[in-house]
Amino acid sequence: MRNQFLTRVTVAAIATCVATAVALVTAQTGGYRAPRGPDGKPNLNGIWQAINSANYDIEAHSAAPSPVLELGASGAVPAGLGVVEGGTLPYTPEALKKRNENRANRLKLDPEVKCYLPGVPRATYMPFPFQIIQSQKHIMLIHEYAGAVRTIYMADQTEAPADSWMGWSNGRWEGESLVVDTKGFNDSSWFDRSGNFHSDALHVVERITARSADTLNYEVTVEDPKVFTRPWKMSMPLYRRVEPNAQILEFRCVEFVEDLLYGHLKKPPSQ
């Protein structure tokens, strides 16, 4: 009898502790708890897209004219309040010089212009949707832009075997959040069209948390001791594409940039 009573009390105590812990966690996400998928984890499946001007410039910026005259307003830059916490990126003095050189020559240097893979976190806030396909061992992020793909290893995790454009991602669940730790980047992608860049020492940690049925909180910590004086954070909501039959379509842009890249090597028409 006595054991049973103790057991009951203990169970009740544990239940209270757990309930408090859960309450704490849900308080951080504003009280929203995502429905669970069949794998028992928060269900992040779906097609998502950022709606902001981060791809133009992740820092706060005013509207600006197009770098290409013929595009007129179609190529102009919308304003943005910025997605970088604290406002300004903590570049080292040399890195800031390079950023400004990048910016001045962005038509020639921005990898997006050449349809190169966008890297992380830029892929998330390109003005294209991406789809999360979630299984127990792998969570896939499939981007419409350039067909970029990210595999998040939830099991059988290893170090990056080689450098790559999209990095090598290992993921884990922390309560309601999917935490993705990515390393193994090369130094070739940018954070936006304004020349903000990184080195191959880039280390990105993303936290993806459902904040409502159709929105996610996307928080990113960026570390790169070769370029920045300290780690910095960015954050933004991601919106679900709720229209019926939404799907990721092709944006196979290599074809679209061939004349740009190789047109000068075309054989001139014979006289």
Partner: protein, 333 residues
Amino acid sequence: MRIRATTIFRVFASFVLFATFVVFVSAQAPSYKVPRTPDGQPDLQGFWSNATYTPLERPDNVSKEFYTPAEAAAVEKAAASRETEQTEPGTTADVHYDFTQFGLDRSQATLARTLRTSLIVDPKNGKLPPITPEGKKILAARAEEAKKLGGRWDSAQANQLDDRCLIMAGSGPPMMDAAYNSNYHIVQAPGYVMILTEMIHDARIIPLDSRPQPSANVRQWVGLSRGHWEGDTLVVETTNFNGKNPFRGSTEHMKVIERLRRVADDTIEYNFTVDDKSMWERAWSAEAVMRKTTGPLFEHACHEGNYGLYNTLVGARLEEQKAAEGAAKKDSK
């Protein structure tokens, strides 16, 4: 060729004018209770006009703060007749269409009348404060930049902002009489006041939620506004101007505080303070009025129909070509 309005109509109008001033002076009901929007904000909604003959600065030959109703009516009549003066056929001024014929002159608009001799109430002399030494330098630098643009018809960019259809005086802030179509539409929603200026369909969306001012790197023609209610007065603070549209010479450091308070069914008091220590030694303030007018507001598709800018540039280039050809002919003789 312009067509005149009838003289009889004008005599009748000026009598009505006088009577309106008398009525206006005595119509201030001290115990006006402003209605509320469904979410509890004092209701400023509706169509408003700030058309006025009252200048920003007091005229040089005037020293008092208020006209008598008779004086005000006379000033208005004089200004109205100057506005509707006939142009001489065959002159450049006559090329412009006749405002009066289209009902665009102020005398045919809803006038936001005041007995004030100037909108500026502080400094007490009704004039802008003295310009700082830094301000003088800035003005000189601007003049230099403007010279580089060449003649007015050398390029689109050498033209005035309103002729380029970029922004007009009614937008502000502060919101000034636009010379015609000085109309506004105010709409409120929970947490927001929206002010739509007719020309050039410029909407300011003013949040009321004490959010911080954004980074100094975000700059706008109309600045960035933040509002809050103090009793029945909407207080709007605006910073982050881009400096490309100086208000009486202001710089991008200008801060404008506007206060809107509905004091009668058909009247909003519109007061504003301009603080720009880069330009003026001290802040200065003005008091104006917005008068209820009939809607709706019409679309002002300025840029889309901007034949004027295009045609004047084409004409200027043609004249240059003619002059060059003429000179060449002379040389070849």
